[in-house]
Each structure stands twice: as C-alpha cells, then as structure tokens.
C-alpha cells in the first residue's frame, strides 16, 4: 500500500515534473489557489481545529504566501505528508511550498534538488519521558526503548548521541507522530524523541501533560524552514521575502492591528514605507507582486511574533532562539531596501 503510493508519487514526479518547474507564480495565479504541503497533524504547527480548518505556525506561513501572491490568505489548499513522503510530494508538484517542520541539511538542499528559503523556527532534538521514571538527564537513558518518528534527521542524531555517550538503546521507529504518541502512552517506549517543539506539542495534547517531562539535553541543530523546488528563482524569492516581511514587521512594530494605519500614512522609518508599498521598493515588479503584498500578509496573517504567539504560546514554547536578534535570538533579517 505504502510502496504503491510512493511509487505512484515518484513516477508521477518524474513524468510530470517538467511542467511544474518554471512559472510557479503563473501556475498559482491561474489556479487561484496555492497548494501547500503540511504535516499530517502536529499541534501548534499544523493541526485541524474543531471546525476542521487547518491551523498552526506552518499553516500560517502557507496563508502568508497566499496573501502575498493572491491577495487572500484563505486561498490555500492543503496536502498532508509524512516525513517520508514530503520531498517526493514536493518534487511531484503536489504543492508549491513544503511547510512542514523540515530541517535544513546539506544533502536535502543539494542532493534532493530543493531550495530552503530560510529558517522560520530554530529547533533541536530533545527527549520526553514520563516523570515517574525519575530520569533527570538524557545521559541516564542507557538501555531505554526509544520511540522515533521515522523519515527525519532524528534517527541519525539519536544514533550519534547514544553512540557518543557509549549507551545502548532499542529504537522503535514509527511512521507518524500520532502513532508514535500512542505507543509512548501505552508504555512500549520509555522515551519519545523528536524536535523539542514537537515534544511540547505532543505533551500538550496528552490528557495529563504534567506527568511528562522534556529533558534538558538538546542533541542536535534543527533549523526548520519552508522548502521549494530548485529551478524557479522568482518563486523562491517570493517565498523567502514573505518570511522576511513577517519578521521585519515584528522588528518594526507592524502588527495586523496597525498595518492599515501605517500603510496609509507617511512613516519616519522609510523601511516601513517600502515594506508597506508607500515608497517604491525597487525590483518588486520582478517578483510579480503588487505593492500591497506585505500589507496583505500582515493584515491577514500577522507578523512573525503574532503567528508565534497565537500558535506556539499555548504549547508553553517560549521564543528563546526564535526571538529577533535584538532580543537575544537568532532571527537577523536582511533589510528591505
């Protein structure tokens, strides 16, 4: 069943790839909808709400791109993908953007012919254990059974961490987050490991989140970000500048509440003017975007901080590394000039 789907996807990928390479923007406009590949379900990043609408940090980014390109944040159709199928789906043209907690690595960037357009979330792999185990550090996990979500960089980090600390473990690889959670809850594993953000999301979805603890060790660097296909620089530029616009807006204090007002007036900070289309932004026409692209993004989705607070604060995730550089974080945004 899995093989068939994958094979079909990869065959479709190589057969029809030719038609989806260039002119991504034209394709999206002609269709009137953006196709976005997201997680099958991870609270805070991409999960359906009680009305069945997808919500989350990664979903917000899809909406932001739709707002910039089509003027309407709701013109997105979502396709879900597991860790294993995501790159195949992107290559097959099932979506224009892969916005699914994807770690930026050399081989994914270079060997898989994809373009990582930036980092929207700095993450790292962590461990979650039931508190009743009494484990305080990941270095006490010798001999433990570890549930892993497969198809990620997680397996490699885990192998390196345990080998590096001369510890043994029993890996239990699981396809999706939901199934892995069930096994962890049933006690098939002592430990659940994935990116720390995913651990917090998973923990909050439990009946009794306080019975579980995320261990202090972060064993890897996981810069997560949206991905597009190689070969269409215009589209890659659009997607990457939408991300930067959201961060710039936070930096300049532009929010969904005040963006209309700021766009109407002449601001002292000329960067705000350029971002909101008051002053001309040289080269914008080459991207094929209208002058109000950033206004649409910020008014309909919000700036980076708004999206972060809306989706990730409920999971008790703090800004940490994901604050702007001036607040001690890692997000340093190229100027909008």
């Amino acid at each position: 069943m899995k093989i068939k789907a994958l094979l079909a996807a990869s065959v479709a990928g190589v057969m029809f790839a030719g038609s989806v390479l260039a002119g991504t923007l034209d394709d999206v406009r002609a269709r009137g909808k953006l196709n976005c590949i997201i997680n099958t379900g991870l609270a805070g990043f991409a999960a359906p709400d009680d009305k069945g609408n997808w919500q989350g940090f990664d979903v917000d980014f899809c909406k932001a791109v739709a707002a910039a390109v089509l003027g309407d944040a709701n013109k997105v159709s979502y396709t879900t993908a597991t860790g294993k199928t995501r790159f195949t789906k992107l290559a097959a043209g099932e979506g224009e953007i892969l916005s699914r907690n994807t770690t930026w690595t050399f081989s994914r960037d270079v060997d898989l012919a994809q373009t990582f357009i930036g980092v929207n979330y700095y993450d790292g792999q962590g461990f979650m254990v039931p508190k009743k185990l009494g484990v305080k550090s990941a270095k006490e996990l010798d001999g433990a059974s570890v549930c892993i979500q497969t198809g990620t960089t997680t397996e490699l980090n885990l192998a390196e961490f345990f080998a590096g600390n001369n510890m043994k473990y029993n890996p239990v690889p699981i396809e999706t987050n939901a199934e892995a959670q069930e096994l962890y809850k049933a006690g098939r594993c002592d430990v659940y490991t994935t990116d720390a953000s995913g651990l917090y999301a998973t923990k909050m979805s439990f009946d009794n989140p306080d019975a579980h603890a995320v261990l202090p060790e972060i064993v890897s660097k996981e810069p997560l970000g949206p991905v597009v296909r190689h070969g269409d620089d215009q589209w890659a530029d659009i997607v990457s500048w939408v991300l930067r616009a959201m961060m710039s807006a936070e930096e300049k204090g532009i929010t969904s509440k005040n963006v209309k007002k700021l766009a109407a007036q002449d601001n002292k900070d000329k960067e705000i003017n350029r971002l909101l289309g008051k002053d001309p932004l040289q080269g914008l026409s080459k991207l094929g975007l209208s002058a109000d692209w950033a206004v649409n993004v910020i008014s309909q989705v919000g700036n980076y901080a708004e999206s972060f607070e809306r989706n990730l604060y409920p999971l008790t995730i703090v800004r940490g590394m994901n604050a702007l550089y001036r607040d001690g974080g890692l997000h340093y945004i190229p100027p909008i000039k």
Binding site: M1, K2, I3, L6, L7, A9, S10, V11, G13, V14, M15, F16, A17, G18, L21, G83, K84, F87, T88, A91, S107, R108, D111, L112, A113, L133, L141, D142, G143, A144, S145, T150, G151, T152, E155, L156, L158, A159, E160, F162, A163, Y169, N170, P171, V172, P173, I174, E175, E179, L183, A186, G187, R188, D190, H230, G231
Partner: protein
C-alpha cells in the same frame, strides 16, 4: 517468384507472426519512451540515477538484526538486515499458517458439529477483516494488555512476558559444541534412511515400524549423548531486568510477534478453505474404499485423501504463500524493521533516492516471489509424478 504481401497476410500462420512482431515493436517503443521520459525528467529536475548511496554509512540503528549490524554499516547492509527480517516473518508465518490452516481445514469438514462450527466462524471472521487491522489489533493487544517490564509476567524466573516483547533464555554455544552439531546431522541422516528403509520393508512384507517414535527418539537422544560426552558445552543466557529493560536472553519484539501471528492466522483462514476444497474434490468413493479395507480414520486421511488432495491444494497454496510474504510489508504500520522499513523507508528518506530504493525494493520482492513460486512449482511437479 514474387512475394505477394496480400498472400502473406492471408496465410494464418504468417499473419500471426506479423501481428506479434508489430505488438512487440509497439511494446518496445512504449518501454523506451517510458525510460526516456524518466531519464529526461530526472535530468530536468537535476537528479541523477545512482546507486552509490548503498555504500555510504546508513547512520541509523535497527532494533532487530539477524546478522551483525551497527549504524556505521552501509545502507546495503541495512537493506540486507531488513530483507532477513522480512524473511524471518515470512518463513515463520508460512510454517504456522500451513499447520494451522491444514488443521482448520480438516476441522471444518469434521462431523462434530461444534468443531465444524468453530472452524467455520473462525474462517469467516478472520478472512473478512483486512490484514492491516489484524496486525494493528495484535500489536495493540500486546502493548496495551501486557505489563511494563518492571511488573513482567514471570515464567519460572527464566522467561518474561512484557509489553516490550517476550524475553526467553538463549542457548549460547561454548567450545566442544562441534560434536553436538555432528551428531545432530548424523541423527537426521539416520532418520531419513530409516524411514525409507521401513517404507520399503512395509511394501515387501507388510510389517510396520513405529517410524515416527523411533526417529523422534534418535533425533533427541543422539545430540544429548554428544552433549553429555563433552560435559554439556552449552550455557543459557537468561534475561535479567537491568535499568529500563531486560538484558540478555532472546528478545522477541511485540512487532515481530504481532506481525507473524497476524499474518499466520489471517492466511490460515484462506489455507483452511483451500484444504477443504482439496479434500472435497476427492470422490467420496475413495474414502469409502479406504474405510472398507479397515483403515482407521486418521490413516484414511493421511494415506488416501491428503496425498490426492495435495494436487488440488498446491497451486492455490502457492499464491497464499506469496500473499503472506508480500503482506509482510505492512510491517511498517507497527514499526517492524523489514525491507520496506529499512531500504524503502529510512534509507529512502535519508538519501532521498526514492526511484532507486523503490526499484530495488520492487526487484527484491519480485525475486522472493519468483523463488517461492518456482519452489512450489517444483513440488507440484513432483507430487503430480508420484500420484499418476
């Protein structure tokens, strides 16, 4: 004499040849178009078709390996580990399913109402539920009902049942074990020769040996003598609770147990029906004749009915074996590391070589299926010869 094209066309034989050639050309053109299309689009995507990834370190760990493996070994070795895991499940599954299916099939024809109904309901229930549900159900039962290792169900202080799997003692060979192996082989050779001899003797004189019991004794006793002779060069590794899990002993993971069990009981239902069909295909005169010469019911079954039913049973049985082997790829649903989960799963994802890995997985399954098929065909051929 000039060749008249119309005449060639009107000749049935040459017309057939011409049509076959045309079909072959079209087929060849289609294949080359497919290949060209694939390679062309790969080029446009900036991807190449390369199997070099097989020789770089896999980097991930596998929880069950029949040959030594660690995360520095290559993707190729990881694939072989997965293949062996697939083989393990397939072989265990086929053996259990065959025995169980045969038993059920005979039971289904039993005149005992209760036995008959039980077999009937079993077959109807089992084969009408998708195999994936069977696998998930058994896995769920194991991990949700059995206790945590710390409260393991203890069997004589040597074996433990937990929701992390079953831990049983594992025999470890020490020096001097060679004699044991030698005697085992001798015992098996003796058993084969002895059954041949007693069969011949029975044909000539009509006298019988209790072949089964004698062989069983020889096969058990001989190796034991060898062991005693060398002062029992075997030690047992007994599982012990250390830290989070049991260490030592033989570990049967819940995934292995659930998968083997689910595949076996699912396929057994189909095999039962095949066996029933095979037995019913034998004319009742055969049974009546056998009974009338005074054979006991079990001998009627073993000597008269089953050998004839075998011819009917084997071809469809082959497809059940193939199905079981292919269904084992559903292992991925519960995280059993078979071929699909290693080469077609983690290796695929780590290297991003979906075309290459999928082609390999396909070819390997094809090879497995063709081998099972040819083995069964060979057996079928033999049974045919012996019977007619």
């Amino acid at each position: 004499m000039s060749i008249n094209p119309l005449k060639i066309w009107r000749n049935e034989k040459s017309r057939q040849i011409i049509i076959q050639i045309i079909v072959l050309i079209i087929f060849g053109w289609f294949i080359s178009w497919l290949a060209g299309n694939v390679s062309g689009n790969f080029e446009r995507l900036g991807k190449d078709l390369s199997f070099e990834f097989l020789f770089i370190p896999a980097g991930y760990d596998i929880n069950q390996y029949l040959i030594s493996y660690n995360n520095r070994d290559s993707h190729l070795r990881a694939a072989i580990v997965g293949l062996l895991n697939t083989g393990l499940v397939a072989i265990c599954g086929i053996v259990i399913a065959t025995i169980f299916g045969l038993f059920l099939g005979v039971l289904r024809l039993s005149k005992n109402w209760l036995a008959n109904r039980i077999a009937y309901w079993y077959v109807e229930f089992t084969r009408n539920v998708p195999i994936l549900l069977h696998i998930l159900l058994w896995h769920g039962i194991i991990i949700n009902t059995l206790p945590h290792p710390k409260q393991a169900i203890d069997i004589f202080d040597v074996s433990y049942l937990t929701n992390r799997g079953f831990y049983i003692p594992k025999p470890i060979a020490e020096s001097g074990i060679g004699l044991f192996y030698l005697f085992t082989v001798i015992a098996i050779i003796f058993a084969v020769l002895f059954s041949r001899y007693s069969k011949k003797r029975q044909e000539l004189t009509g006298k019988q040996f209790p072949v089964f019991w004698i062989n069983l004794m020889v096969i058990i006793l001989f190796p034991c003598i060898a062991l005693a002779f060398n002062n029992f060069p075997i030690s047992l590794s007994i599982p012990e609770l250390k830290g989070f899990n049991f260490r030592g002993g033989l570990h049967l993971s819940p995934e292995l147990i659930a998968l083997t069990f689910a595949l076996a009981i699912y396929t057994a239902a189909f095999i039962a029906e095949i066996v029933r069909a095979g037995i019913l295909a034998i004319h009742k005169g055969q049974r009546e004749a056998a009974e009338s010469i005074g054979l006991k019911p079990d001998r009627v079954m073993n000597l008269v009915i089953l050998p004839q039913a075998r011819r009917v049973i084997i071809p469809p049985l082959t497809s059940q074996y193939l199905n079981l082997t292919k269904n084992s790829s559903l292992a991925i649903a519960i995280g059993y590391m078979d071929l699909v989960a290693t080469l077609g799963g983690i290796s695929l994802n780590q290297t991003g070589r979906e075309m290459e890995t999928m082609v390999l997985v396909l070819l390997i399954y094809l090879c497995i299926s063709l081998s099972i098929s040819s083995l069964m065909n060979w057996y079928n051929y033999r049974v045919k010869l012996v019977d007619r």
